[in-house]
Every structure is written in C-alpha cells, then in structure tokens.
C-alpha cells in the first residue's frame, strides 16, 4: 500500500514537472572518511533529519532534500531545480552550520558527489557495498525508513522519489542475485549458523549462555531471532545474568549450578573472562548420559578458551572455538568480496536507467519550454500584425490565424515529443538536450518570464 502511494506520488510529480537539468548532489561522511568522534557529532536524529530537509528547501538552496543517517554514515541528498555547480558547497556549509562544526573540521572528512557519482554512491550504499560489514542487510531498511519519513514530510520530489525507489530496487536485486549478503560475517552469527547445521530449525531448542558479555549478547540476539525455545543465562554476577535474561526473555541459573545446566541444552555458548576453562571435558562427559546422547553444540567465544580443548573428542559434542568461527568469518568475507563485481554490475545498470529517466524528464521539460516559447512568439506576431482581440471581421481573422498557427506549433513539437516519449519508454539517454536549450534560448530566464 505504502509502495503504491510512493510510486503514485512520484509518478504524478514526475509527469507534471517541467524542469531543466536537475542534478542530484550529496555530501556526507561515513566510517571510511571520518573517525567515530566526528560521525557522532554529525549524526541526525529522525526529527533533525526532517528539520534539516525542510530548512534546506525553505532557504531555496534545493527543491528536494533527504537525510540518511545511520551509526556509520550521515548523508544529505539534495536536488536543485536548475544546474547549480555551487550546490555541494552550499550543502556543505549548511551541514557545518547545522551541527555547529567549522568547515575546517569537515575538510577532507566529508565527501561530495554530484550527478552520476551521487546516484552510484546511493545505489552502492543501499546494496551494502559501502557498509563497514560488506553486504549487511540493515542498511537497506535504514535507507527505506529515511525515504519514507522524507516522503511523508513532503521534502522529496520526483527526482529523489525516483532515486530512492531505484536504490531500494537495486538493494533488493543485489541481495537476491548475488551472494553478497549470504553467509555469516560475525563470530556470533557464525556460531549460531553452525548450530543450525547440526539441528536445523532452532525453534523449541534449549540454549545456555555462560557469561553475559557483549559477544554472548550478540549470540543471544541471533538465537532469539531464530525462535529459540528456552534460554538460560549463567554468570558469575547473578545481577548481570538477571539483566540479560530479563532483556532477552530468558531464565537465570546460579553459577554454582553450571554443571547441572549442561545436562539439558542443545546449544552451550560460553563467553567469560578468566585463565582457566569453566567447562571441562569431565563436566560434559558427565552431562551426556543425562542428555541421552543427544548432540550438543558448544560455542566457545572466550579468549583464553572457556571450554577444555579435550572436550572436542566427546561423541556427539561439537565444539567450536573463536579460531574456528574466525576462520569461517574470514572465508565468508572473501566469498562476499568476490561478489563485488557482480553487485557493481547491477548497480551500474540501474545508474544508467536512472540517468536515462532523468534525461527524459529533462526532455519533456524541453518540449514544454519550446512549445511555450513558440506560443509566446506567435502571440506577439499576431498582436503586431492583426492587432489585439476585438470584434467584427478582424476578430474572425485573428481567430482563424490563431487556430492555424496553434496547429502549426503543435505539428512542429509533435515529432520531438513522440521521439522523446519513445526514448523514455526504452529508458535510453537522449543526447544533445543542453545544445537544443542553448540554440532555442530556453535557458534564458527572460524568455521564461514571457510565457
């Protein structure tokens, strides 16, 4: 429903619009261009993002505005009505003023892109190709949220609507047609995926988390997303265990009950600090009969290891330590990187489509401008030679001339209009529109004023 609305709004605005070359410009910074200290300062809350977009439009710097702000990037996208080479500088100045940061601090840490480069940048962002974690899926949702908010706020127009719809389409295509987003890229996720290789569906399975650190929390989050049946947290600090269990919907066990806790779960995750293993081979061996020999997946995220390495030999116990998981992540990272050329090919295909659409939009504007220009000339000639509208024979003569000359103009613009429409359907770029504008004086503001 929302997508339909977005498309309708975008298309309506696109058809109605009459404009010259409207360039997309962006300025922003991300994890590669700026340190986290600066990224924190230039981040936009959703409210700030809408406020900035409104201010930019009201100030007349740009006609359309949209802010994308995530934990790793803050980007400001803008479209001016006419070609404006100073647009990135104006955006940069506003960016600095908004966050009360001097331009010298932003220098070299903020990137600027215009036209093709800006479009390509956004498409790569939506595809996860510009993310810290190559191919991550969250960015597509973040771009969608930013776009929906801006659309609801009315700060987007035909160009940004088309651009962001295109970005969402590219993001989806890249993920479905390449392996860029496949396979785990974090040790926590890799551990959970390995558990799935043993048990299949993790629903109705039981897990015990030994330790309540940040990595353990990530594992819990992945398990929870997979509908784990029962989650038990065991930690030296009972309060910390309670806090994690409460947050993640699990139950707590005392540290002294650790060995007993090993008897039931299908998955055991350990992530505690300490020099000695907290789970020994003997403990696991004692737990196995109570489990009736059911397989157990032990994910040891501790360094030094929390599970005695000798436990690896226990029948039906699958032990994965941080090196195993790190190896898988590294292997997957390489596999994802090998998909970059395929993903970039999809991005480039959509960049060309967008630019062709943008040019055709410009073409439609050109025909309208040409028609208006010719009509203005016609009106001026008629007034000079036949006189102003009056009554009697002169009025009849003027009416006939008006009809004939109007038809003549329509015949003149009919062919270019038809051809531009065809090119638009084929999504082909149209060459030489700027030259036509120049030749017919359609860039001249004075002429537009006469219309």
């Amino acid at each position: 429903m929302a997508t339909e609305r977005i498309e309708r709004v975008a298309n309506n605005r696109g058809e109605d619009s009459v404009r010259g070359r409207a360039e997309v410009a962006l300025i922003g910074c991300n994890h590669t261009s700026a340190p986290v200290e600066l990224r924190e300062r230039v981040a936009f809350t959703p409210e700030q993002a809408l406020k900035a977009a409104n201010e930019l439009r009201q100030s007349g710097i740009i006609e359309e505005a949209l802010v994308v702000s995530t934990c790793n990037r803050s980007e400001l996208y803008g479209v001016s009505g006419e070609s404006n080479e100073s647009l990135p500088r104006a955006l940069m100045s506003y960016f600095g003023d908004f966050h009360k940061i001097g331009l010298h601090e932003l220098d070299g840490r903020v990137y600027q892109h215009v036209g093709r480069h800006a479009v390509r940048h956004l498409f790569r962002v939506a595809s996860g190709l510009d993310s810290m974690l190559l191919g991550e899926a969250e960015i597509l949702g973040q771009v969608r949220d930013a776009y929906n908010r801006a659309l609801g706020n009315g700060s987007t127009g035909p160009v940004l609507n088309r651009l962001f719809q295109g970005a969402l389409e590219v993001g989806k295509r890249v993920r479905s047609e390449t392996e860029i987003g496949a396979r785990p890229m974090s040790v926590a996720f890799a551990g959970v995926k390995l558990a799935e290789r043993i048990f299949g569906d993790l629903k109705n399975r039981r897990a015990v988390i030994v330790g309540a650190g940040a990595v353990a929390e990530q594992v819990v989050e992945h398990l929870r997303l997979r509908g784990i049946g029962e989650l038990r947290v065991v930690n030296r600090s009972f309060a910390r265990a309670q806090e994690l269990a409460l947050r993640m919907g699990g139950v707590v066990a005392e540290w002294s009950a650790l060995e007993k806790s090993l008897e039931q779960p299908d998955i055991i995750v350990t992530s505690v600090s300490g020099n000695e293993p907290v789970v020994t081979r003997a403990m696991l061996e004692r737990a196995m009969p109570a489990r009736a020999g059911r397989a157990v997946c032990v994910i040891d995220l501790g360094v030094p290891r929390n599970v005695e390495p000798q436990a690896e030999g226990i029948y039906n116990a699958y032990l994965f330590n941080i090196d195993h998981l790190g190896g898988i992540v590294e292997q997957n990272r390489k596999a994802r990187e090998s998909e970059i050329p395929r993903a970039d090919a999809i991005v480039d295909e959509h960049v060309e489509k967008f630019l062709a659409w943008q040019t055709s939009l410009e073409g439609a504007g050109l025909v309208e401008a040409l028609r208006a220009r010719l009509n203005a000339e016609r009106e001026s000639l008629l007034t000079a030679h036949v006189g102003a509208k009056g009554a009697g024979a002169a009025a009849v003569e003027r009416e006939q001339l008006e009809r004939v000359t109007r038809e003549l103009i329509e015949r003149i613009v009919q062919l270019p209009e038809k051809r531009l429409r065809e090119q638009r359907k084929l999504r082909r770029p149209v060459e030489g529109l700027a030259a036509l504008r120049e030749l017919f004086g359609l860039n001249d503001k004075g002429n537009e004023g006469e219309q």
Partner: protein
C-alpha cells in the same frame, strides 16, 4: 531397447539435476520448484517408457537387464520425490538425481539391445513382489546416500572449515530423519514384497523355499536395517555411528541385489 521416452526422461532428469545444483548454490525458490517439476516430468516420461515396455511383454519389465535397471532408476527417483515432499528439503536432490541419471545411462549403455521378453514367472502377485522388492532397494540406496552426506557433513563440522555447499545441505538431524524415513520405506516394502513372494510361491508349489540364498540374504537385510532403526535413537549410537551402520548395511543390499541374484540363487536369477 531404448525408446524416445527413455531419452526424454533422461533429458528431463539431467535438466532437473542442473536446477537442483543451481538451487544448491543460489537457493532461489523458483529454481528449486523448477527442479522438482522437471523431476516429476521425468518420472512421468519414464513411467510411460516402462509402460510401453510392459505392453510388449504383458508384465512389469524386471526380467531383462535393461528393464530391471530402468525400473530401479524410476523407483529411486520416485522414493526421493516422496522424501523431498515429506521433509521439504531439496538440497539432497543434487546428489540423488545423478544416481538416477547414472543408472539410466548405464542401462542404455550396458544393455542397449536388451529386448524385452516375457518373464517365466508371471501374474499380478509376482509382479508386485518384484516391484515392491526393487522399491525397497531404491529406498535403501537413498538412505545410503543420506548417511554418506551425514558422515561427510559431520566431518566438515568437526574440522570447522565448511565450504559453500556445506551451508546449503540439510542439517545433521534433518539428514538423520530423512535417512530414517527412507529406511522405514525400504523395510516395510521389503517385508511386504517378501511376504508376497512367499504367498506366490506357496500357491505355485505348496511350500516355502526358505533355504534359497536370496531369501536368506533378504532376511539378513531385514535384520540389519531393523538393528539400525533400533540403535539410531540409542545414546551411544545416535549420530555418526548410526549413519555409518546405515551406510555399511547397503553393502549387504548391493551384494544381495547383484552377486546373489547373478550367481547364488536358484530362482531369483532374472537377467
């Protein structure tokens, strides 16, 4: 004697295999569905090829080498399709369908001029006895493949260096469940098929030829698979050990189906 329906079935199986592999590497829902549909189409074409052969001899084609191998390939594909639909797992198709193709190609290459001829023993009961017996062997063949995949996947997990295909194959417990289902199909089919054989023989001769090597080996096969089903949930055996037992059991099946049929049995020698 190969007819165009055999060739069509082979082509459809090959196309199905290609889509199963595509599905394995790219996990697209549509490619998996196309693979299954092609397999079904292959089964239908293959069925009509067998039917045509049956029309000539007025019996199910198990008596000549070509017909017997072709029937085995068809039942292999049919059993796999049943398992796929029941467990909703397609990844194994990329390993089972090549065996169907292999069996059919071998039949075409080894016995291309094998003319269908009417079996000496005949009748509906006898035909059911043979067909259900071959179905049992096909089901055991699939359980063997599933057990092999289990053992390989288990080894990869233990070494902690999985490749791309590793993430696509069913989980160990799913493989075990599929293997168990397959063994159940095989066991029930073998019990029914053997019982029908006894009934048919009793009607014909008035006694049971228990001492025939084929019968003895069939009882051995029944025993080893019954043992497998008993230990597959036992604490000390469940998992890789049970998979190994299942894989080893198939050696006996293979021996019974080939060597015993060809050299030892008195009245189960067909081709």
């Amino acid at each position: 004697m190969t007819n165009w329906l055999d060739v069509l079935a082979l082509c459809l199986y090959v196309a199905s295999f290609a889509f199963y592999v595509l599905n394995l590497y790219h996990e697209r829902v549509w490619s998996g569905r196309v693979a299954t549909l092609l397999l079904i189409a292959g089964l239908v074409a293959h069925y009509y090829a067998l039917l045509e052969r049956s029309r000539i001899i007025h019996a199910i084609p198990y008596d000549d080498l070509y017909g017997s191998m072709s029937l085995f390939a068809w039942l292999l594909a049919l059993t796999y399709l049943g398992l796929e639909l029941f467990h909703r797992k397609r990844a194994v198709g990329s390993l089972v369908v090549p065996f169907v193709i292999f069996w059919l190609v071998v039949a075409m290459e080894v016995a291309p001029s094998s003319q269908p001829h009417a079996p000496a023993a005949n009748g509906a009961l006898f035909a059911l006895h043979i067909t259900i017996g071959i179905l049992a062997y096909a089901a055991f063949a699939i359980s063997f493949l599933l057990s092999l995949i289990y053992l390989i996947q288990n080894r990869i997990l233990r070494r902690g260096r999985p490749g791309l295909a590793f993430w696509r194959f069913p989980a160990l417990e799913v493989l075990e469940r599929m293997s168990r289902s397959s063994v159940w199909i095989g066991l029930v089919a073998l019990i029914v098929g053997t019982s029908l054989g006894f009934v048919w023989e009793h009607r014909l001769t008035g006694h049971f030829a228990i001492a025939d090597p084929k019968v003895l080996f069939t009882l051995l096969v029944l025993a080893v698979y019954a043992i497998y089903l008993a230990i597959v949930r036992a604490p000390a055996w469940r998992g890789a050990r049970a998979a190994l037992v299942c894989a080893c059991n198939f050696v006996i099946v293979l021996f019974s189906y080939t060597v015993v049929n060809l050299y030892f049995t008195n009245f189960h020698r067909f081709f």
